[in-house]
Each structure stands twice: as structure tokens, then as C-alpha cells.
């Protein structure tokens, strides 16, 4: 039986279109990565990682430490809240409260990050009097991460087969332990994906931090409040506008480090998942 010619033509057309779409999606990513790497690599010296910024030049040590501090802090807040919230919503399945939480998470995900930053400024920096600080910045970032973690956890937990729940409950295991030991384990790959998405978003955000963490060219002091913090995206955002080659180099170096950080997080997460199974 030969395939009819018309069908073969349509098939070839569809495959070609699929390849075009793949290239269209990959090209900007690769182009950007190459551009950033080309500008960043000449500027990346070991000294850049160990010295703090001074004026329009210097190093990125303060920004690297600040970014790490803010993101880890935000993750520590957003991951437990998001995973527990998403699990709760998924296990409840329906009801007015569940619908409200899901809608709120979707709205929060669509909120402009500058609005979150301004909210942080009004509520945390001013009203609570924390000043520009790591705590205010981390909370603003956590708020942005939260919807990603909640929604992906929700989807991942809801996708776990009821057969697994039933099998555990039928052993006389209570529902809470069943969720903790079986459902979350089965949903873990999905949850990790959500957490990675959220961390990626947090690593790359600038706007919410401008109003909350502000900027500092010194290493983080360890004080949670009343102590501005530097971060990599600020360097990208500000230094690229300066009319100096040294500033541009620093901005590209910062952008490159951000890209590498996100890539490494993803690789590490996938590796960790692979080790498990």
C-alpha cells in the first residue's frame, strides 16, 4: 500500500512548518545568548567576581551576593507557602474557596512586577518602616514567585492518579500522610518545575527590587532591614545606559551570570530528579 501523494505532501508540509516554528523559537534565545556571551566573556575576569562595584566599574561581588541572598530568601518564603497552598487547593478539588485561590494566583501571576515593587515600597519600606532592605526585597520577590509555585503544584498534585491515593488509604494510612508520602512524591517532578520557574522569575526580576531593595555597592551587611542590597539585574538595567565601555562590560557580565545561574538551576534540578528515580 503506497501512501497517497496528497497525504505525503501534506505531511512534508506539516513537518517543515514544525521545524520552522522550532527555529523561530530557538533563534532569538540563541542569538541573545551569543550576544551576551560575546560581550561578557572578555570582561569576565576573576576579579569581577571578587570585588564590589565602584562608580561605573569595579566588580560584581556585591551584586552576586545580594542576588543570591534575595533569591534564596524569597524561595525560602515562597516555596513552602506555594507548595502547601497548591497542594491544599488540588486536594480540596472544588468549592468557592478553591476557585478564589486559583483566580487570585492567576491574577497575581499577571500583575506587573513594578506594581508589586511599588506595593512593597508603600507597605514594607514605608508603612512598616523597614527601609530599603533585604527583607522587603525578598518579600516582593516571594510574592512574584508564589503564583508559579502554587499553580504548578496545583496542576502536578491534581494530576496524580486517584489510584495511588486509594492504594495508600486502603492500607489504613490517613489522608494527610498519604498526601505527604505518596501524592507529593509522585507530583515532585511537576512541583520542581514550578519552583524552578518561580526561582527563574525571581532571579531575573528588576522592577520589584528597585523600590524595595534599592541598590548598594557594598556587600550585604547581614541586616535584614534598613540596609539596601545590590543585585545583578540592577547592574544590567543601569549600567547599559551609561556612556562608558567599562559600564557596558559590567552590564553584560552581570547578564551572562544571570543566564548561567538560571541554566545551572535547571540542570541541577533535572539532575536531582534523575537521581531519585
Amino acid at each position: 500500500m503506497r501512501t497517497p501523494p496528497a497525504r505525503r505532501v501534506r505531511n512534508a508540509l506539516a513537518v517543515t512548518l514544525a521545524w520552522v516554528a522550532v527555529c523561530a523559537a530557538l533563534f532569538p534565545l540563541l542569538d541573545m545568548a551569543v550576544l551576551v556571551a560575546r560581550h561578557a566573556l572578555p570582561a569576565l575576569r576573576f576579579k569581577v567576581l571578587t570585588t564590589v562595584t565602584s562608580g561605573i566599574a569595579g566588580g560584581l561581588a556585591n551584586a552576586i551576593a545580594g542576588s543570591a541572598l534575595l533569591v534564596v530568601f524569597a524561595a525560602v518564603i515562597a516555596i513552602p507557602v506555594g507548595v502547601l497552598g497548591g497542594t491544599f487547593v488540588a486536594e480540596q478539588r472544588s468549592g468557592a474557596f478553591v476557585r478564589t485561590v486559583r483566580m487570585a494566583a492567576d491574577v497575581l501571576a499577571g500583575l506587573p512586577s513594578i506594581a508589586v515593587g511599588y506595593f512593597g515600597y508603600i507597605a514594607l519600606v514605608q508603612a512598616l518602616g523597614w527601609g530599603f532592605s533585604a527583607l522587603a526585597g525578598a518579600l516582593a520577590l516571594a510574592l512574584l514567585m508564589l503564583p508559579y509555585v502554587v499553580r504548578t503544584t496545583d496542576y502536578a498534585v491534581a494530576a496524580v492518579s486517584d489510584d495511588l491515593r486509594d492504594a495508600s488509604l486502603a492500607l489504613g494510612v490517613d489522608p494527610t500522610t498519604t498526601v505527604r508520602r505518596i501524592v507529593l512524591r509522585a507530583a515532585l517532578p511537576g512541583i520542581v518545575t514550578g519552583v524552578m520557574l518561580g526561582v527563574g522569575v525571581a532571579v531575573g526580576e528588576t522592577a520589584p527590587l528597585l523600590y524595595t531593595a534599592s541598590w548598594s555597592s557594598f556587600m550585604p551587611t547581614g541586616r535584614l532591614t534598613h540596609s539596601p542590597v545590590g543585585y545583578l539585574t540592577y547592574v544590567v538595567w543601569t549600567y547599559i545606559n551609561q556612556p562608558f565601555a567599562a559600564a557596558h562590560a559590567l552590564a553584560y557580565a552581570a547578564a551572562f551570570l544571570l543566564m548561567v545561574a538560571v541554566l545551572m538551576l535547571n540542570v541541577a534540578a533535572r539532575w536531582a530528579l534523575g537521581q531519585r528515580s
Binding site: 492518579s161 489510584d163 495511588l164 491515593r165 486509594d166 492504594a167 495508600s168 488509604l169 486502603a170 492500607l171 489504613g172 494510612v173 490517613d174 489522608p175 500522610t177 508520602r181 505518596i182 512524591r185 509522585a186 528515580s277
Partner: protein
């Protein structure tokens, strides 16, 4: 129905038909004496059975339904089930699709609690206690009445951990040596040990469907249940695997009370001592398997067994 009427054709020893009395509204108290007599006969065979005898003396059926009704939203699924399930026996529940046999099975360990909108009426007694009484904790109940499902389900963990999962949660073993002994015993009881003993740390998902189902049986055994409910356990596995599972169940009969829902009449005839025929949410006939299959009292049972419907 007299005791002498009923013989256990399968093993050629007397089987109390008492358990079957739910039928036709016969009083549930009647079979007790019969069961006791039976239990004595069995009791001579082993200490395990002697224990069963004591239990039988204490209350006859291990599980009894008394005029039990169940409604799904818009569907009266179980219509007054009255039925005694004998201890230390294999009871097969047969009937066409949608007759309520799986629903009934899932009522016995309150797995139906999880389905919203279900209403029940009547009683199900487990060792004399109504399982729907407010003081009964369904979680604790399910530990004593285990269940194996139609589709093989393995937890996303190793073979060993699948079996050790519930005993760990219930803290049934204090030492890891004890846990190893328990896991090996359960895998042996389920007839799976020889196939998996060299790869206990491998993911259970790598096992074949039939092996997964025997792993599910081993997992159910691991919490020392008194009753094991099986909902069409062989409908998703091949004939060879079905044979192994049937062998496993035959080995376990006598030590556990087993209730199996099956579409496979040959299976019911091969492994059960007791058969219950469900139709339209009611019990049409219940009795010794030999009797039900060779001399069904109800024409509908006969029609079903001869393949005229269902």
C-alpha cells in the same frame, strides 16, 4: 437450609453455608451454629484455623451486611444487601457489570467515603461492630480490612519500600531487621519473593502488570489485615499472571478472610468456597460455590452462569 445440605466441593470438607443466609431474608442469627461447627472441623487442621474457630464462636461472619442501601447521586446502587461473609474463606462476588458488586466491596472498608454525594442506610458489621458507627475511624478500619484494586498500583518507590511503606507508618517493626523479615514474609506469601529478591531496591514500576498486582497483595498483607478485599484483581493481567495470583489467594485462604469480586466465573469456581451473585444492586443468591454453580436455586443465577445475560 441445613448445614448438611452444603458441602465444600473444592476441598471436600464441610463448609458452613451459614454465611449465605442473607439470602431471601433468612435471619442472620441462623448460621452461627453452622459456622461454629465448620470452624471446629477446620480447627483440627492448624493453629491458624483454630484461631478462626474462636473468632467464629465469637460472632460467626467476619463481615455482615444488614439491609444495606447505597445511593450515588441519582442512582440507588445497593438495594438492601443482607449478607454474611464467612471468616478464613474465599468468597467470590459475581454478577454483570453495574450490578453493584464493586460498590458493595468498597463499602466494606469504607472506601466509598471518598466519593462525594454518597448516602448509605443500613448496617455493615465487622466482628459485630457497625463500621458506620460514629466512633469507628475509617482509617483504622482500613488497616484491618485491606484492599487490592483492579488496576495494579505501585507507589513511586522501590519494591522493598512499597511493602514497607505502611508498616513504617504504623510502626509495626522497631528494627530494620524486623522490617526485612516482614517484607520477605509478605513477598513470599504473595508468591513474588523468588522473582524480586535480587532487586528489592529497584523501582517497583519496572515490574510487569502481574507482578505489580502481587506486589499490591504483598503490600496489603504487610499491615496484618484480617480481611482482604480484591476488586477484579486479575482483569488487567494476562492468564499466566492470573494463575499465579489465584495460587497466591489459595495459599492465603485459611489465614485471611478473602472477598474477591470477579467477572471471571471460572476463577470464582476455581478458588472460592463461597459465592454471592449480585444483580441490579441486590443479592440474588449466596451459598457454597459448588452449590451455586451446580444447582443454582434462582433462575436468574442459572441464566447468568450459562451466559444468557451479563
Amino acid at each position: 437450609m441445613a448445614v448438611s445440605e452444603v458441602a465444600d466441593g473444592w476441598r471436600g470438607r464441610p463448609l458452613a453455608a451459614g454465611g449465605a443466609t442473607g439470602l431471601d431474608g433468612a435471619p442472620e442469627s441462623m448460621p452461627r451454629a453452622a459456622l461454629t461447627a465448620d470452624a471446629r472441623a477446620t480447627g483440627a487442621r492448624s493453629a491458624m484455623a483454630a484461631e478462626a474457630a474462636t473468632i467464629a464462636d465469637g460472632g460467626g461472619a467476619v463481615l455482615s451486611a444488614v439491609d444495606f442501601h447505597l445511593w450515588y447521586p441519582g442512582l440507588h446502587a445497593l438495594r438492601g444487601i443482607t449478607l454474611d461473609l464467612p471468616p478464613s474463606r474465599i468468597t467470590a462476588i459475581i454478577g454483570p457489570s453495574g450490578c453493584g458488586k464493586s460498590t458493595f466491596l468498597r463499602s466494606l472498608n469504607r472506601m466509598n467515603d471518598r466519593i462525594p454525594g454518597i448516602v448509605t442506610q443500613g448496617r455493615i458489621l465487622f466482628r459485630g461492630t457497625d463500621i458506620f458507627a460514629p466512633q469507628v475511624d475509617p482509617v483504622a478500619l482500613r488497616r484491618r480490612i485491606g484492599m487490592v484494586f483492579q488496576r495494579p498500583v505501585v507507589f513511586p518507590m522501590s519494591i522493598f519500600d512499597n511493602v514497607a511503606y505502611a508498616p513504617r507508618i504504623h510502626r509495626l517493626e522497631r528494627t530494620s531487621a524486623g522490617m526485612w523479615v516482614r517484607v520477605e514474609r509478605c513477598l513470599r506469601d504473595a508468591g513474588l519473593w523468588d522473582e524480586v529478591k535480587d532487586r528489592l531496591r529497584r523501582p517497583a514500576s519496572a515490574l510487569s502488570g502481574g507482578q505489580q498486582q502481587r506486589l499490591a497483595i504483598a503490600r496489603a498483607l504487610a499491615v496484618d489485615p484480617e480481611v482482604i478485599l480484591l476488586d477484579e484483581p486479575t482483569s488487567a493481567v494476562d492468564p499466566v499472571a492470573t494463575g499465579r495470583i489465584e495460587d497466591t489467594l489459595l495459599r492465603l485462604a485459611g489465614r485471611f478472610s478473602i472477598v474477591i469480586v470477579t467477572h471471571n466465573l471460572g476463577q470464582a469456581a476455581r478458588i472460592s468456597q463461597h459465592t454471592v451473585f449480585f444483580l441490579g444492586g441486590e443479592v440474588v443468591e449466596a451459598g457454597a460455590t459448588e452449590e451455586v454453580f451446580s444447582q443454582p436455586r434462582d433462575t436468574r443465577t442459572e441464566q447468568y452462569l450459562t451466559g444468557r445475560f451479563g
